[in-house]
């Protein structure tokens, strides 16, 4: 080539190089840049083929990123790559940062035959380099190929390398631009997520209504993250089920309406997240073993289940679902979990607030009830007091009428009838007063032997043994109640049973005393069943309501409500139900005593002679065993008729309720024998009038029955 031709060629190459450089420096998209570059090079220089290789992340391979024509497209599609430092010209150029020329590829040792480019006769590989000095870095190589042999000169290298350097800078810039774009998008998304988190935080502090908070939460998640669906599940009272409380869109509304719930520890992601207290993420739901297909959400491809944890307690889980596979970035997961944690605290606070509101409402109800009860009690007390003289006045009138001279028999009969009506009305007022005020009177809960209280009640009511039948579970614990009030409750129910069976040929009342456990609490339950006609289903709930009665005008309808009040007073309960075989059964629950055992250590007297006047029953056996264990001698008798010498006894204990005799008669004999002062009378229920009758004999004291060794010691010391 002469000097003139050489100069023209150089000028053409430089011109083409400048043109390429101008064309590519304004392209910011990396893919567009590379594809445009190979086209411009081939067009400007008239080459058969050009391709751009970029070194991958491992630094080991130069991967073809753009190639001219169909050959280039095919090679890019199949991931054509050449090893850096390998046998190819590209491999050598990238490894050594040096341009190479093969003027006849058949002679070039590092040229590998390429099936897509069979016509290549000359090839040039130009390294793509960025930076300078120590910062110099080879990012890839440009391959330029010609169908002509010896198509390139060393001078061409200089001209084309300048263009390759421009290309390298352009690629670097495009990559930086792309990275900047990515970082900007990431920053924008972060800002949006922060705003979403701020919205949740704001919602947490400003929304006190639980349902509103939950719905706001799912909307924020979907709007801020662009997810297709979000929902919040909360554990139900059993903690066995997670119940959907809020869901995005129509699907969520429909599922909430139908009570959608998932079993904790079950097959669902929500169930697994709650059971394992950790996030579950399915980037392709088809691959997730615990994903349960939901017909309301058929488009779901990715799902995340985040547990809602407060302290050590899991209270529910959040589900987030996307229509795209692998939709969740690490950033999404961490920010959503942070949001879920915030929500959990908010829910916990809302729950506490609701509990506080409920407690407040309960307090208001209780205070209102107390106020009403106090007012009612005072009113009834007032009315009762005003009515007190009626019965006495009636009695005086009867006496006066009997003394009337020359009375008209018809008028006298009429007066007596009216007096009878007045007396009955006064008795009813007194009865109402007693039922309403009785349970509200002083009560001192203490350990009581339920069987003893029931049996004493039966004896005082004089219920015939052939009617009543007992079944008592052995070794029952004591109950905790005020024995006097409890006997009143048993009396109301037993009276009810007696009246229900009074017209029957074979009346029967069954009393069963048993121990039951409910919600972690133990109760001594007394079931009193009768074979009467029972109560109609429609009236079953009304029997506990004051002034409701099915037994006619002579009843005030206050006995069963009073019974219920007595049991509620001691944290027990009363339940009524119909028996399948006919009749009613009433169940009276008394909380079981959880303190020391009845026979526990006590400061009992020792070496004494005791006379115990009582029937052979559960309480007398307890006293005999307890006193004998303290080295005392106990003689038990059902009556004192056979006792000839009271002097041999140090202490006498008399049960007020005896099966075969009246304790007043017993005390009379004891008083006559001069032993009253060392006599202690005990009763499961002590009423004032009875106590005054008993004290009249000069006994040491009248005391409620002790049901523990400690209580017995207290009475005796």
């Amino acid at each position: 080539m002469d000097k003139s031709s050489l100069a023209e060629r150089r000028a053409a190459l430089l011109h083409a190089g400048a043109h390429v450089s101008r064309s590519i420096t304004s392209i910011l998209d990396p893919d567009t840049l590379l594809h445009r570059t190979v086209d411009i090079i081939c067009i400007a220089f008239g080459f058969y083929y050009a391709g751009v290789f970029l070194i991958d992340e491992t630094g080991e391979w130069a991967v073809l990123r753009a190639g001219r024509g169909e050959a280039g497209a095919a090679m890019v599609a199949e991931g054509h790559k050449l090893q850096v430092g390998g046998q190819s010209m590209i491999g050598a150029a990238t490894a050594h940062n040096k341009a190479l020329i093969a003027l006849d590829v058949g002679d070039e040792p590092v040229h590998l035959k390429n099936k897509y480019l069979p016509l290549t006769r000359s090839e040039m590989a130009l390294p793509l380099v960025v930076g300078a000095g120590a910062e110099t870095r080879v990012i890839g190589a440009l391959s330029v190929q010609s169908e002509e042999e010896e198509a390139f000169t060393e001078d061409d290298i200089t001209a084309l390398q300048a263009m390759a350097d421009q290309l390298a800078v352009a690629i670097h810039n495009a990559r930086l631009y792309s990275e900047n774009e990515r970082l900007l998008a990431q920053a924008t998304r972060r800002a949006r997520l922060l705003m979403a988190a701020a919205d949740v935080g704001k919602g947490v502090t400003s929304i006190l209504d639980l349902d509103e908070l939950l719905h706001k939460m799912v909307d924020i998640i979907c709007d801020a993250y662009g997810f297709y669906y979000a929902g919040v599940f909360l554990l139900d009272e059993t903690r066995a089920w997670a119940v959907l409380r809020a869901g995005r869109g129509e699907a969520g509304t429909a599922m909430v309406a139908q009570g959608h719930k998932l079993e904790v520890g079950g097959q669902s992601m929500i169930g697994a997240a709650i059971a394992q207290r950790q996030a579950r993420i399915a980037l392709d739901v088809g691959e997730e073993a615990v994903f349960f297909k939901n017909p309301y959400l058929p488009m779901t491809r990715s799902e995340m289940a985040l547990p809602l944890v407060v302290g050590e307690e899991v209270i529910g889980a959040v589900t987030v679902q996307s229509e795209q596979e692998a939709a969740f970035s690490d950033e999404d997961i961490s920010s959503l979990q942070a949001m879920a944690d915030q929500l959990a605290v908010a829910l916990h606070n809302a729950h506490l607030l609701r509990e506080l509101e409920l407690a407040h409402a309960e307090l208001v109800r209780t205070k209102t009830f107390e106020a009403v009860a106090t007012a009612t009690t005072e009113a009834i007390h007032w009315i009762g007091n005003k009515a007190l003289p009626i019965a006495v006045s009636v009695q005086r009138l009867r006496e006066d009428v009997a003394r009337l001279p020359g009375e008209d028999a018809e008028i006298v009969e009429s007066i007596h009838e009216d007096l009878m009506l007045i007396e009955a009305s006064a008795q009813l007022i007194a009865q109402v007063k007693e039922h309403l005020i009785g349970p509200a009177r002083e009560y001192i809960p203490a350990p009581v032997m339920i069987e003893d209280v029931v049996r004493d009640t039966v004896r005082v009511m004089d219920i015939a043994p052939e009617i009543i039948h007992f079944t008592v579970t052995p070794d029952l614990p004591l109950g905790v109640a005020d024995a006097t009030q409890l006997r009143r409750a048993f009396r109301y129910v037993l009276q009810n049973a007696l009246e229900a069976t009074e017209d029957l040929e074979s009346p029967r009342i069954d009393v069963e005393i048993d121990l039951v456990q409910e919600k972690g609490a133990r109760y001594v339950v007394t079931r009193i069943a009768d074979n009467g006609p029972g109560v109609a289903d429609a009236n079953l709930d009304k029997i506990w309501v004051s002034f409701y009665t099915t037994r006619g005008a002579k009843h005030a309808g206050l006995g069963l409500p009073a019974c219920l009040q007595i049991l509620k007073q001691i944290d027990g309960k009363a339940v009524a139900r119909k028996r399948p075989e006919g009749g009613m059964v009433f169940e009276l629950y008394v909380p079981a005593h959880t303190g020391a055992a009845p026979h526990g250590p006590a400061n009992l007297p020792a070496g004494k002679q005791f006379l115990l006047v009582d029937d052979d029953d559960v309480w007398s056996r307890f006293v005999e065993r307890t006193l004998a264990a303290a080295q005392n001698v106990v003689t038990r008798v059902g009556d004192v008729g056979a006792v000839t010498d009271f002097d041999v006894f140090d202490i006498l204990i008399v049960d007020d309720v005896l099966a075969t005799t009246d304790s007043l008669a017993v005390l009379q004999r004891i008083a006559r024998a001069g032993a009253a002062a060392k006599t202690l009378v005990v009763a499961s229920s002590v009423r004032v009038e009875r106590m005054m009758d008993l004290l009249r004999f000069g006994v040491r004291d009248v005391q409620p029955k002790p049901y523990t060794a400690a209580a017995l010691a207290e009475k005796l010391n």
Partner: protein, 133 residues
């Protein structure tokens, strides 16, 4: 007539007071009935200083006290004052409250007996028994 037996009866419920008074009168007792504790104490002190002292007192528990306020222990307060004037004086405490502890408290304070209102026939028997003792 037991005109020689003089009873001080105190209750703020006028109907109850009159009813019990009538029953006691019919039983032959000489009854002085008053409806407040201050008047009762004055009457008692005056009678005890005279040649016609009271033999027994029947007091309600729940009525206005010496300050004039309704007080469930007003009868107990009057009881204490009567016993200050005349130690060992027989007193029956009368109330509508059927409460064991209140009854025991009255007895501990020196009452001879505690009686639930509304059964005057039993009250008369009780008074007669106390006087007989």
């Amino acid at each position: 007539m037991k005109e020689e037996v003089k009873v001080l009866l105190v209750d703020d419920e006028k109907l109850v007071l009159r009813s019990i008074e009538k029953s006691l009168l019919r039983a032959g007792f000489d009854v002085e009935a008053v409806n407040d504790v201050t008047a009762a104490l004055a009457l008692f002190e005056a009678a005890m200083a005279s040649d016609a002292p009271f033999d027994i007192a029947v007091l309600d528990l729940n009525m206005p006290n010496f300050a004039g306020y309704v007080d469930p222990t007003a009868g107990l307060q009057l009881l204490s004052k009567l016993l200050e004037v005349q130690p060992g004086f027989p007193v029956v405490v009368l109330t509508a409250f059927d409460e064991v502890e209140r009854a025991k408290d009255a007895v501990r304070r020196g009452a001879r007996a505690y009686f639930v209102k509304g059964r005057e026939a039993d009250l008369i028997a009780l008074v007669e028994r106390i006087l007989a003792d």
